[in-house]
Symmetry: C2
Subunit: 439 residues, 2 copies
């Protein structure tokens, strides 16, 4: 058992922070929180309930005046677009896809290139404090395998999607349904088990990129192997109109996925949902589908602003996605700021829609998004200990309160303040960017 | 004469970047650019036109593969709100002003406190690569003097405003017109001359905070000492309505300033202009009034989005303001990103309003904003050499073009990539945060 001592902040409920000044959190050998308290004595009471377990000694790790918070979770990002982060931002969607995005993804047929880029990607997620990632790779099975091995090597949690696509895309980014299924099964063979930190996730790119046969095969794979599902939903109006033509029987875009078993039959996350309306919301609510809100991407790609306040009011599950390379920042802390700011634009137009607060966006980034990976994102007993230790002494040059220190770290800070990172109870060292796998 | 060798990027025109791979810029002993060229020989031709000047030897400084760009200019920021950067962001405007902003500004009656905070402020501007700043201080003359001395000590350019206010504000943030004038004259005595790098700027807080007598005295001071003017304009609709009541004869908010000689009679910058309409635009155009666009502040304070494309189309002068503590970031590079993103929201609603490009926002931050401080913000001959050397090797891990390297630095980078900073031809070392002035 390990006990961490620091100023502890987390969001059990989205309405407010739990703040334990000089508090303690106990973590067992499996990496799960067994108790969190303001003093060691109260923590002991929790621990004594577990007296039947073998006593392997309790180690107390003192982080002093630093902040201890849950680690970040990224629910939507394109690993195979990592080279394009922060370039071509002046382009419209179509030339961006044709001249930058698709040509870049084709490069991942080359596993040497893939390892080089994916190592930077995993390294930079680590740097940003993101310990769990739900990511698109590319159609290429072997490059996807490399990305999964890199997450495994790093000790960081990931749901990694070999991308399914076989229509409306360049020929060298298309594969047959059989190839797709075989590729998935070979990845499932290597990475599986419900407790695995790194697992495949079924990833049809989106309805317009996949034939009904491919969508059906995706749904069958998800059901057969009980795998999570990710895709894009209602990002822009042209796309929604196209889906209506391709799937004329569907009552809404989400319903089109639903008909193929890709909408909550297994845990599902859908990126964007900018134009999701009542019917789609209802279906998402019923199916427990998670929204990956990607505010920077929605701004950069001139999409619009997702109605997050309505989603929360309706009880939908919502987390954040950095959506590189539509988004330009890997930092989920930046997503919190942008989400608050975008909600303030909604509020400015309609005061009935109150803007998002810091605790709400922190909860979205941690406890809400974390639930997609299991019991992740909080310090309540039973949760896996995914945590960041924040050394904010440079920002804390006056008598700031603990909440003000956290707010300043989020608004002004960056990876320089992240002193330690934990995933499932283990401290995660800096992943290497030196290539060794591919030849 | 010094000649700097690097990859040089700047915006002579707002439509595109000048890009000189492995180029040269020559700077004379006064800190002014004498030539910029792709090779030394062409630079010599420029230099030979200056052969009557004494030849003090030419030193070549080689920055290798790094990027050399003009330094940043911040046209609107509240130095006396620096402690509040990144806190209280969940509050509405009124409780934010009453519980955070005004109480904070009153602390600057204490020069010891002022020196401590102002040293961090100047240090962090340096860190962000901002070499010229137009800033509000507080009503306190002696604290304002300290801030001006700190800019002088650092060697960084600044227009610093002792704030004028005598109505609709806490009593301890109000002073009489006579005190205001005396305070200004004592600062003018110490810091003056048109070539001074640090000068006072006339700073009525805004119309609602100043009686007609104070506004008149401000206009007279500006005219008598030929000082620049700064204030707030058309930030929100309540404020505009209040100005209409206070100054019933004015035809628009800008016209209210104009009647007191505070709208372009001397160089004038107005922050925000979110709700500026045609008549105000026309007046600003005629008077050459500069807009300080503060996109982060406008989002954080739930103000709205300023119509920057319209301002540019009309030929208005526009630059950026970080507007701490309404804004949360001191980085003018961040202002470029936000300005592009906000313009994309306008574009998304109305495709006739094309969104801002990187070269346009770079030009706004450098050549356009720089013009408020003199010939600043470009590497054309005659311009003062204000520059940043960007060491982006960590971001440049693939075969990116020079423009892509600049774009990645702006979107992904931070102060870690700023290797050298120059203001008026001198390299500026890191300013000290250790207090020595105040007792």
């Amino acid at each position: 058992m390990k006990v961490y001592n620091a100023n502890i902040l987390f969001t059990k409920e989205r309405s407010h922070f739990e703040v334990l000044e000089n508090g303690y959190v106990a973590v067992d050998a499996d990496g799960r929180v067994t108790g969190v308290a303001s003093d060691l004595a109260s923590l002991g009471a929790d621990a004594s309930e577990r007296q039947n377990e073998p006593d392997d000694g309790t180690e107390i790790i003192d982080f002093g005046d630093r902040l201890l918070i849950p680690a970040m979770n990224d629910l939507h990002v394109h690993a195979a677009q990592y080279r394009n982060q922060g370039i071509a931002m002046d382009l419209e969607l179509l030339p961006w896809l044709q001249n930058y995005t698709f040509p870049e993804e084709t490069k991942y047929a080359d596993t040497v290139y893939a390892e080089r880029m994916y190592r930077r990607f995993v390294h930079d997620l680590w740097r940003a404090g993101t310990m769990r990632t739900c990511t698109f790779a590319s159609i290429h099975t072997e490059s996807t395998r490399i990305l999964m091995r890199l997450f495994q090597e790093a000790g960081m949690g990931a749901l990694v999607g070999k991308v399914g696509m076989n229509r409306n895309c360049p020929e060298n980014l298309s594969e047959s349904v059989e190839e797709m299924v075989q590729g998935y099964e070979s990845l499932i063979e290597e990475f599986n088990g419900p407790d695995a930190l790194v697992r495949p996730i079924i990833t049809p790119r989106f309805i317009p990129s996949c034939t009904p046969e491919m969508l059906r095969a995706c749904g069958e794979l998800a059901a057969k192997y009980q795998l999570h599902v990710q895709s894009h939903l209602s990002e822009n109006k042209d796309e929604i109109a196209q889906v209506k033509i391709l799937e004329p029987d569907s009552t809404c875009y989400g319903d089109a996925y639903d008909r193929y078993g890709l909408f909550g039959q297994t845990p599902t996350v859908m990126a964007h949902c900018v134009f999701t309306e009542q019917e789609e919301m209802e279906l998402m609510k019923r199916r427990g589908v998670m929204v990956a809100h990607c505010p920077t991407s929605n701004l950069n790609v001139t999409t619009g602003i997702a109605p997050i306040r309505q989603f929360l009011d309706k009880g939908l599950r919502v987390g954040f996605g950095s959506d590189i390379s539509g988004g330009h920042s890997l930092s989920i802390f930046q997503m919190m700021i942008y989400a608050i700011q975008m909600s303030k634009l909604h509020y400015q137009r309609d005061h009935a829609r109150s803007f998002l607060t810091l605790s709400e966006t922190f909860w979205m980034a941690t406890k809400s998004a974390g639930s997609f990976f299991g019991q992740v994102g909080s310090f309540e007993p039973g949760y896996e200990f995914d945590a960041l230790v924040i050394d904010d002494h440079e920002l804390n040059h006056d008598n700031y309160s603990l909440l003000e220190r956290l707010e300043r770290f989020i608004y002004l800070g960056d990876d320089r303040q992240i002193a330690h990172r934990f995933c499932r109870g283990k401290e995660i060292p800096e992943p290497s960017i030196f290539c060794i796998f591919a030849e």
